[in-house]
Symmetry: C2
Subunit: 242 residues, 2 copies
């Protein structure tokens, strides 16, 4: 293989809503990001996104999936999408490397066995990161928040079955602002995303009405609100559906 003066890597922002132990924290659920720590070289001690060089015979998404499985043992992504390309010629020292930033999402009930040199960090409280990785996290986070609003992406955050309050907490953790469970229910029901399981979750230690369990009708990404305005006339829409 000839030596190359440029390379191409993928870097994945793996996001997961995780409970926070500390009881003084206002939010019980917080969006976390998976990072690993450099132990050698000039960046020793600093943290980086999982990823690596793209293989010759794989596309970017395939490479991202493979490297997450190999390097941090993450195999249960509910969503993976490309966010942006980072192409500044001097983004890292040494030879020129393009980076494809991806957003990966884990449902909150997934619990991968991550290696010793990796850890989960609250997205609002990242450690010292390497190169442009903090910017990549910011871009991925913005994408996640935006897409929750106009697509069915919520399924990727949630476990198989959930109560509406926990789902609202998941949305709140990802969006960064409170979400009213009442209104969330109306929106998701109107879109046909929610299905009642029939069963209920046991109430908390201090009593309270048991919460009904729901699941997503379909664990697949769909754009539900494509147009903020200037929507096509209804007759055009119905034509398209035919």
């Amino acid at each position: 293989m000839p030596k190359c003066n440029t390379g191409h890597e993928v870097l994945v922002v793996v996001g997961q809503v995780r409970p926070v132990a500390h009881p003084t924290s206002p939010a019980l659920h917080v969006l976390h990001v998976l990072l690993w720590q450099h132990t050698l070289g000039p960046a020793a001690g600093r943290w980086a996104l999982p990823g690596g060089v793209v293989g010759d015979d794989e596309d970017l998404a395939t490479s991202a999936t493979r490297q997450l499985a190999e390097k941090v043992d993450v195999r249960s992504l509910s969503h993976l999408e490309s966010v942006a390309e980072f192409s500044d010629p001097s983004r890292i020292p040494g030879r020129r490397v393009f980076a494809s930033g991806f957003l990966g999402v884990l449902p909150s009930d997934a619990d991968p066995d991550i290696p010793d040199d990796t850890a989960w960090f609250r997205v609002d409280d990242l450690p010292d990161t390497v190169f442009d990785h903090a910017e990549i996290v910011a871009r991925a986070r913005a994408r996640l928040a935006a897409k929750l609003s106009y697509s069915t992406l919520g399924f990727a955050l949630a476990p198989e079955e959930f109560t509406l309050s926990t789902l609202a907490q998941h949305y709140a953790a990802a969006l960064g602002h409170p979400v009213d469970p009442t209104n969330l229910q109306r929106i998701l029901t109107r879109r046909g995303e929610l299905v009642r399981c029939g069963r209920s979750a046991p109430p908390g230690p201090s009593g309270g009405r048991p919460a009904a369990l729901y699941r997503f009708a379909e664990r697949r990404l769909r754009i539900t609100d494509q147009f903020a305005t200037l929507r096509p006339p209804v007759d055009v829409l119905t034509e398209d559906r035919a």
Copy 2:
């Protein structure tokens, strides 16, 4: 320079709303795309997007701008943005080449001197194109249409000064469905995008009230409708603004 087994190119979908001569066509304005024709090799006769290999010391957007200027003499883009990365290892024959697909927009009054081997094509009636270029056009077109709905991107299509009916025709050409000038005016005015020039356009040959001329308050991309739903509560929004 060592020989590489992979490369990285940019490909730009240059979009422009252009008048259509044929009088039987229902729309007077149609979205067009700039393509150039291969004359040599196995792809001779087929059409391709402008672009080329990214230089060692330029980022992707810089490279796109440079190559449009050098190769098709397009220097008056009103907008340029990255759309997607095309990374299928076999997307083109021969060595592996990543392609960054860009959307470029020309205002309808720009009239670049394009070379002999390039031509404008209606976006709904493309000729035989090379490799995955048709898919890149489709992705860029979808991006343009979506972004018109929730941002100020309309300025990129329009000339410096315009009447509301021509502006509505520009939007209609890019969106692919009719746009009511009345409602367009309300929306853009509420967003503070429109400014009256004071002057009027001369009426057509068959008379009619002369149309007022408008311009955009600001020729800069801004997201105006970020949330389709699940917007943050008002107190959070005002906090952010402070």
